[in-house]
Symmetry: C2
Subunit: 150 residues, 2 copies
DNA sequence: AAAGTTTTAATCGTGAACGATACAAATATA
DNA sequence: TATATTTGTATCGTTCACGATTAAAACTTT
C-alpha cells in the first residue's frame, strides 16, 4: 500500500497513531465496568498496580514507571487519598519527596483486582481478538517505549 | 511467559492496555510540535483529516469515523470554528443535524499538513522504531477496531 | 558559608474524554 | 392526527493530560 502511486499520507486509514489512540480508548472503556466496582478509573488502576508491587514509593518513581508527569499524578493521588486508597507523606530524609503508601483498603483491593485481567481477556475473546496477535503487539509496543525512554 | 508458574497478571509489565495507552500518548506528544504550527491539537487534526476527505459532513458521521462521542466533538468543533477552521450549519432538510464544512483557512491547512506524516516518520526513525513492525501493529489494531465496531 | 543549580511537588489554565441528562426534530405507531 | 419512540446535538460535571510556572528542599561550586 505504501508503494501505490497516489498514496495519500493524510488519509485517515493511512494513519498509524489513530488506531493506536482509538484502541487504547476502546480498551479503557472495556475496563470501566470492572473498575467501577472498585470505584477507580483506569489511570488510578495503573497507580494501584505500581503500589501493589512497591508499597512506599515516591511520586517521582510512579511518574517514571507510568510515564505520567507529576502535574497529572498529584491531583490523581489526592483523589485516591480522599477515597481512602493511599496515604501521602513527606519523606523525613528528603523533604522534597512525597512517599505514597497503600492503606488497608488499598491493599485489600488487590484481592478483588485479581480477577480483572481474566475478565478482560474474556471480553476480548468475545471481540475475537487474537491473543497471539496481542502478544506480538505488546512486544512491539514495549520496544517503542524502551527506545523512546532512552 | 504466560505459562510460568507464578505468573502475576497484575504486574505492570504484563499489561497489554498500558503500553498501548502509553505509546498512544507518546506518539501524540511527537505530533505536538508539528501541530503547534497550525495551532491545532491531535484530536482536532483527526477532524481535519476527515474534513479533507469529506467537506460537508454531519457531526454524527465524524463521530462514527473517529469513534468519538458527540459530547466530545461539539465543544472541540466549536473551538475549531472559533479558530476559523470550519463552519457549523444546521441542515435545512433535517434540522437535527449540524453540517460541518471547511473554511478557506481549513482547506489551506491541507497543504501545510502534507509534510506532517513524513516528518513524523523521520522522528520515529530517530527512535529506531521499525516501520515494518508499525505496519504489523497497524493491521492488528485495524482488525481490533473492525471487530469492536461490529 | 553564600550563591547558583538541580530536584521534586504543587498550582494554574486549556483541552480533551465520557457518563448522564436534556431537548427539539424526525419518524413510527396507535 | 395524537402519542410514543428514535435520532442528533448540546449541556453539565468529573477526571485525566500536559505545558508553563512557582516554590521549597537538597545539592554543588565557589
Amino acid at each position: 500500500m505504501l508503494l501505490e502511486e497516489n498514496y495519500n499520507p493524510l488519509k485517515l486509514e493511512n494513519q498509524i497513531c489513530f488506531p493506536l489512540y482509538s484502541v487504547s480508548r476502546l480498551l479503557i472503556q472495556q475496563y470501566k465496568p470492572l473498575l467501577d466496582e472498585l470505584n477507580i478509573t483506569y489511570p488510578q488502576y495503573l497507580v494501584l498496580l505500581v503500589l501493589w508491587e512497591n508499597n512506599e514509593i515516591p511520586v517521582k518513581d510512579i511518574s517514571e514507571k507510568l510515564l505520567l508527569e507529576t502535574n497529572t499524578l498529584t491531583p490523581l493521588l489526592k483523589r485516591m487519598e480522599t477515597n481512602g486508597y493511599l496515604q501521602r507523606n513527606r519523606s523525613k530524609t528528603d523533604e522534597r519527596m512525597v512517599i505514597i503508601s497503600l492503606t488497608k483498603k488499598g491493599k485489600d483491593a488487590h484481592q478483588k483486582a485479581l480477577e480483572i485481567p481474566q475478565k478482560l481477556v474474556e471480553k476480548l475473546d468475545c471481540f475475537s481478538v487474537d491473543k497471539k496477535e496481542m502478544e506480538v503487539m505488546k512486544s512491539i509496543l514495549d520496544k517503542v517505549i524502551a527506545t523512546v525512554k532512552n
